[in-house]
């Protein structure tokens, strides 16, 4: 199959390219970039990208596919359709499935199930400890062989710091990346919202910023001790960013990401107990949100992720503190990246780096690039068209998000995965 993507504005953050260039694809790879086709290239299919931006397929560092175990909330099919519709061609999924991704057979089954041409590439994050219980290590080498790119705890903490130290030492032995959310479980106990003005007013139990900074201090100290490659997931506070920046300056290898929700929302968005804003970590203050937006722009925060977590209506139609945590995000990652870029007046090549080349390098995979020879994982989107977030417009089985009802910038026209047309937005 030979594809010619013509008349588009090509943005390739990896090579800092932003130019009107055509793209030529053969056998699942990029074979030509520029005005003229490589010698002997005869397209079977021509995709018109007039008015559109052609960029690498998005790489999402956190998407819960709810398989195995929670198929009533979402299935691989529904969520992969959502990913493709969102221009996402590669994603990492956290290990908090049921059963937990703590043994190679489960990981193999998941990656095998996900191996369809129209499905995004799936990179499971293996459990760092058995059952995510924070007590015994998993067979990390075996899990890595089965396809795990990193090891983590999803949003469950390892309470016992000796176990955490050893888990990081063991991972460092094989140079496996360790992905950790920084939240002290004691300070977060029973908490459902940022410990600030809104929680005080609504009578909700708070999670202080210190829950993040204390856990982060532990993680960063142990990263220095062990030399483990640490990626901090879902940073939520200004103070947390400062610590990461300082740690990097001190020579600690640490990266971090932020979720789309925390980039655009803050504690005020809880409004009158809106359970759509029940998220983990909690939405923090306006000041924190501004720091997250600036930090992502400067590169202090390396990547933006959807933190896609399909939750059904039963899980949300509850009193705030009893409601389930999470929101759908796959189809909002690109629009919310564009919205942030517009509001921050950022060049698109910088903004798109945070959802393509930068997360790809955190995953340690060759992706997120439009160089000749690269896999043809491509997103073509119309930046002038809008995406209205409605239950009907969302392909994900998760219909709950705090952005419901909003009109966001950017609509995906085509998504290609290994040169296969996985999504065609012109079909209506």
């Amino acid at each position: 199959m030979k594809i010619h993507i013509k008349n588009g504005r090509l943005i390739d953050p990896a090579s800092k390219t932003d130019k009107a260039l055509d793209l030529f694809i053969a056998a699942g790879r990029i074979v030509g970039v520029g005005g003229t086709a490589p010698a002997g290239f005869e397209a079977n299919s021509v995709l018109d990208a007039t008015g559109c931006i052609v960029c690498p397929g998005l790489v999402d560092l956190a998407a819960r596919l709810r398989e195995p175990g929670f198929e009533y909330r979402a299935t691989l099919e529904s969520e992969m359709a959502a990913a493709a519709a969102g221009g996402i061609t590669r994603l990492a999924c956290p290990p908090d499935t049921d059963p937990v991704l703590d043994e190679p057979g489960l990981v193999e089954m998941l990656t095998h199930r996900a191996r369809l041409p129209e499905f995004a590439h799936v990179h499971p994050v293996g459990a760092l400890t058995l059952q995510l219980e924070g007590a015994a290590l998993t067979e990390m080498a075996e899990l890595a062989e089965a396809g795990c790119v990193a090891f983590g705890q999803a949003n469950r903490a390892i309470v016992d710091t000796q176990v955490l130290l050893r888990a990081m030492m063991y991972a460092a032995t094989f140079d496996f990346p360790v992905w950790l959310q920084a939240q002290d479980p004691f300070l977060a106990r029973k908490g459902v919202a940022h410990d600030g003005e809104v929680a005080a007013r609504l009578g909700l139990a708070g999670i202080p910023v210190a829950a993040e900074t204390i856990a982060l201090a532990t993680i960063l100290h142990l990263a220095r001790e062990t030399g483990a490659r640490v990626h901090v997931t879902r940073i939520s506070s200004a103070a947390g960013i400062d610590m990461i920046v300082a740690a990097r300056a001190a020579g600690i290898a640490v990266t971090c990401d932020v979720a789309i929700h925390h980039l655009h929302l803050c504690e005020m968005d809880i409004g009158f107990f809106d359970t759509q804003a029940r998220l983990d970590p909690p939405l923090r203050s306006q000041r924190d949100r501004e720091a997250l937006r600036a930090g992502l722009a400067s590169g202090a925060i390396n990547a933006l992720c959807s933190d896609h977590t399909p939750v059904d209506d039963d899980g949300k139609q509850m009193p705030f503190e009893e409601a389930e945590v999470g929101a759908t995000g796959l189809e909002l990652l690109l629009p919310l990246t564009l919205k942030w870029a517009q509001e921050m007046k950022l060049p698109l090549v910088t903004a798109l780096a945070r959802v393509t080349s930068d997360p790809a390098s955190i995953l340690g995979v060759r992706a997120g690039s439009l160089a000749i020879g690269a896999a043809a994982d491509i997103c073509v989107f119309d930046p002038a068209a809008g995406f209205r977030v409605t239950r009907e417009n969302l392909r994900s089985q998760g219909k709950n998000t705090p952005f419901l009802g909003q009109e966001l910038p950017g609509r995906v026209r085509y998504t290609l995965i290994d040169g296969h047309l996985a999504f065609d937005g012109t079909l209506g």
Binding site: D195, G196, E197, A199, A200, R201, L202, G203, L204, A205, G206, P208, M268, D269, G271, F272, F273, D274, D314, Q317, M318, P319, F320, E321, E322
Partner: protein, 320 residues
């Protein structure tokens, strides 16, 4: 941002969920409406027909004899049919959700739900659900949700203060005790600041104050003696048994020593200061019996006024 579900498009009270955000004139109107209802209680036949033919469901997901009883009396004096449901002993244990329970009762032609729930915001959920399903004619009254609000308690406290002190704009008022876990305190603070009380103080150890409480417009004191100096009204809060020892407080004895209201501490307030308590009291923990039974206490009148205020709220929401 969602819109406040308690006012309808004409700015009238549709539900009573919280005092926060209610305009001063709405609060004043409720207090004014309550005044004649106090007199109903003095009559031989203690009934008015304002809610005749209406069904009021007391939905108590959390135990409370006192509040439930006063709501029941208020509804009955308005001639409503009252159905009491203590749900922590029935369906909630069978896994039925709050909204399923409400849907079932709504199908029994309810006109009003009086709801108490352990989770902050539960009555909002109910009100939003009624609106979303086209059942706007069913009114929701919050009878206490988690730590969030207890608006009728806040209103009856305002009624009591107005009864003894008349002008809110001349007062200094102290709220003492476990503000962190108190829905009563939050409702009191919103009511007092809305009614124009120039100085609202909260007095508590740091472990019993929520972060950012000063943004609600209160002055924070940790020294009770300092905080009580010159106040017109002392509003005591109940300390729940489970908070009396542990990581929040070392012991009831130490709490009483620092934050218990004794005659000696009360002497620092204005000589005509009144002492209030939402009940039930823990004598010797937050309040000394000499104060609770003393001449400055208005704790029993609060209970009496509570019925009139609850009648006023119900009549304004659903009155014929």
């Amino acid at each position: 941002m969602q819109k406040s579900p308690q006012l309808n498009s004409h700015g009238e009270l549709q539900h009573l969920l919280t005092i926060e955000g209610l305009p001063r004139d709405v609060l004043t109107r409720i207090l004014d409406t309550a005044a004649p209802f106090s007199e109903v209680a003095e009559r031989e036949v203690k009934k008015v027909p304002l809610l005749r033919g209406k069904s009021v469901f007391n939905l108590f997901f959390e135990n409370s004899t006192r509040t439930r009883t006063t709501f029941e009396i208020a509804a009955k004096r308005l001639s409503a049919d009252v159905i009491n449901l203590n749900i922590n002993t029935s369906s909630a244990n069978k896994g039925e959700t709050l909204l399923d329970t409400a849907d079932n009762l709504a199908a029994m032609q309810a006109d009003m739900f009086v709801v108490r729930h352990a989770s902050s915001g539960a009555p909002f959920l109910l009100a939003q659900h009624m609106a979303a399903t086209g059942r706007d004619h069913i009114h929701v009254v919050n009878a206490g949700d988690g730590r969030h609000a207890h608006p009728t308690q806040g209103l009856l406290d305002m009624y009591t203060i107005r009864h003894y002190k008349t002008d809110f704009t001349q007062l200094t008022i102290a709220i003492v005790g476990d503000v962190l876990h108190s829905r009563v305190a939050r409702s009191q603070i919103h009511a007092l600041t809305t009614l124009g009380v120039p100085e609202v103080r909260v007095i508590a150890p740091k472990t019993l104050l929520p972060t950012g409480i000063e943004r609600l417009g209160v002055r924070v004191f940790h020294d009770m003696r300092e905080g009580l100096r010159g106040v017109d009204v002392v509003m005591m809060l109940r300390l729940q048994n489970e908070r009396m020892q542990g990581a929040l407080l070392p012991s009831t004895q130490e709490y009483f020593k620092s934050y218990g209201l004794t005659p000696e501490k009360l002497a620092l307030a204005k000589p005509d200061a009144i002492v209030m308590h939402p009940g039930p009291m823990n004598r010797g923990v937050e309040i000394d019996s000499a104060v609770a039974d003393g001449s400055q206490a208005v704790i029993l009148p609060q209970v009496t006024f509570g019925i009139a205020v609850r009648m006023a709220v119900m009549a304004m929401l659903a009155g014929n």
